[in-house]
């Protein structure tokens, strides 16, 4: 069991800045995220798109913002628990016990939910028959490409994952790439390579087609794809790989007994606490009258929530408001030598 002052759920920009606001107050945090790296939506949805409304930063990309936030919180040497999804929350006297899907257990007086719109999960093939093959013949990510050696593989999607894997697996497997339209959003360079392979007969490319059925009981034998004009093609295959991007699922957070409003968590605007004392929600996942889903709003919410976290984690100490420009205590925590 890991004991800490605050468990932060979500390593997006707002979760990262919460580490900072807690850190300068001398509080320790542990950060849990379902993804394999920090950045949340900034990294998954728009790493290269410029953001224009971060105060005092005229323009930066999602990736740059994430990198700078990580740099800003480096002095606090925070532990990140990636590829972990928070599953259960229970109370134990003044503390919360947080359990992840991999059975990591945390104990803390405070939980800050900075979960965005929930955890990212791959979008799956919506056919009913797809479910029984999930993880056997149908995959949405690849751990070991050797599984596909000398096999027939159909890849779906139009983004970089679909294109990169088509190129990579074409070296060891018989690949058919299927996409719902002629245009691909993945890198043009990779697409050109694939088109060359198609001309050479090494890869099959089917555009304007979508999956319509899956044949096979234990394993997939073939699939049928269909276009808008109702033309069907049957393709014999061993494996299907789907790269349709990520969807965000609120997941188990919805079961924690928090007051919810649609898919967001209701909080007060004094300290962004939920209806449960010691559980806070900040960033896109929280709602209150006038809420705007902006990163800058999340930063403000993190600052105020951290004050209440301090009061709960250090009940015998008095909270003192301090500026980073003048507080020696804060500067020491930031690893700066005061002049």
């Amino acid at each position: 069991m890991i004991k800490t002052d605050v468990v932060i759920v979500g390593a997006g920009p707002v979760g990262l800045f919460a580490v900072h606001q807690l850190g300068i107050k001398g509080l320790k945090a542990e950060v849990i995220d379902n993804l394999d790296r920090a950045g949340g939506q900034c990294i998954e949805l728009y790493p290269d798109k410029p953001i224009y409304d971060i105060p005092a930063i005229p323009k930066c990309t999602g990736k740059e913002l994430t990198e700078n936030l990580l740099k800003q919180i480096k002095p606090f040497k925070t532990n990140f628990h990636f590829n972990e999804r928070v599953q259960e929350v229970s109370s134990e006297s003044e503390n919360w016990i947080v359990k992840t899907n991999n059975n990591k257990i945390f104990k803390a007086p405070n939980i800050i939910i900075a979960g965005g719109v929930g955890s990212f999960e791959p979008r799956k093939i919506s056919l009913q028959d797809a479910e029984k093959h999930d993880g056997k013949s149908i995959f949405y990510s690849i751990n070991d490409k050797n599984k596909f050696k000398d096999k027939k593989v159909v890849i779906f999607g139009g983004g970089d994952s679909a294109l990169d894997w088509t190129l990579e697996l074409s070296k060891i497997s018989k690949v058919t790439l299927v996409h719902r339209r002629d245009e691909f959003r993945g890198a043009p360079h990779t697409l050109n390579e694939i088109k060359k392979l198609e001309k050479a007969g090494k890869v099959a490319l089917k555009t304007r087609y979508q999956i319509s059925s899956i044949e096979g009981e234990k394993n997939i034998k073939s699939i049928t794809i269909k276009n808008d004009e109702d033309k069907s093609i049957k393709i014999d295959t061993d494996y299907v790989l789907g790269f349709f991007g990520l969807v965000m699922q609120l997941g188990p957070i919805a079961e924690w007994g928090l007051n919810m409003n649609r898919k967001t968590i209701s909080v007060n605007t004094e300290n962004f606490q939920t209806n449960k004392k010691g559980i806070f929600a900040i960033g896109d996942i929280c709602t209150y009258p006038g809420k705007e889903k902006l990163i800058l709003s999340g930063f403000h919410e993190a600052a105020l929530a951290s004050v209440e976290c301090f009061k709960r984690a250090r009940p015998n100490e008095k909270y003192r408001f301090q500026f980073t420009t003048s507080s020696k205590e804060i500067q020491e925590r930031l690893g700066q030598k005061p002049k």
């Binding site: 719109v117 979008r123 919506s126 719902r180 990520l246 965000m248």
Partner: protein, 106 residues
């Protein structure tokens, strides 16, 4: 005010007045129309306000941008008449628009 009709995948339909300048997505959210999630709040950063536009209206809409098409790749069961309702801004021109929501968004 322009009237927009939202048809759920089960056939239930609701016609509401939506003020000019709002998006078809906002019209749905403000009037508690089911079937549109709009997780990102209208930023074209998710695909959970996905709708199917009635064929005869397709050409009357502003042309779809690449970024919207890219996002629709990630939508649930995209079709030829798929649009993101956050990108459809209501004006007198869209009076009578009919959209159908998919059976689910995520």
């Amino acid at each position: 005010m322009p009237k927009i009709t939202y048809i759920e995948s089960n056939g239930n339909s609701k016609t509401i007045d939506v003020a000019n300048g709002l998006s078809v997505m906002e019209g749905a959210i403000q009037n508690n129309i089911p079937g549109i999630d709009a997780d990102c709040g209208g930023g074209m950063a998710c695909a959970t306000c996905h709708v199917y536009v009635k064929e005869e209206w397709l050409n009357k809409l502003d042309k779809i941008e690449d970024a919207e098409q890219d996002m629709i790749d990630m939508a649930f069961e995209p079709k030829k008449n798929s649009r993101l309702s956050c990108q459809l801004i209501v004006s007198d021109k869209l009076d009578g628009l009919i959209v159908t929501t998919p059976s689910k968004q995520t």
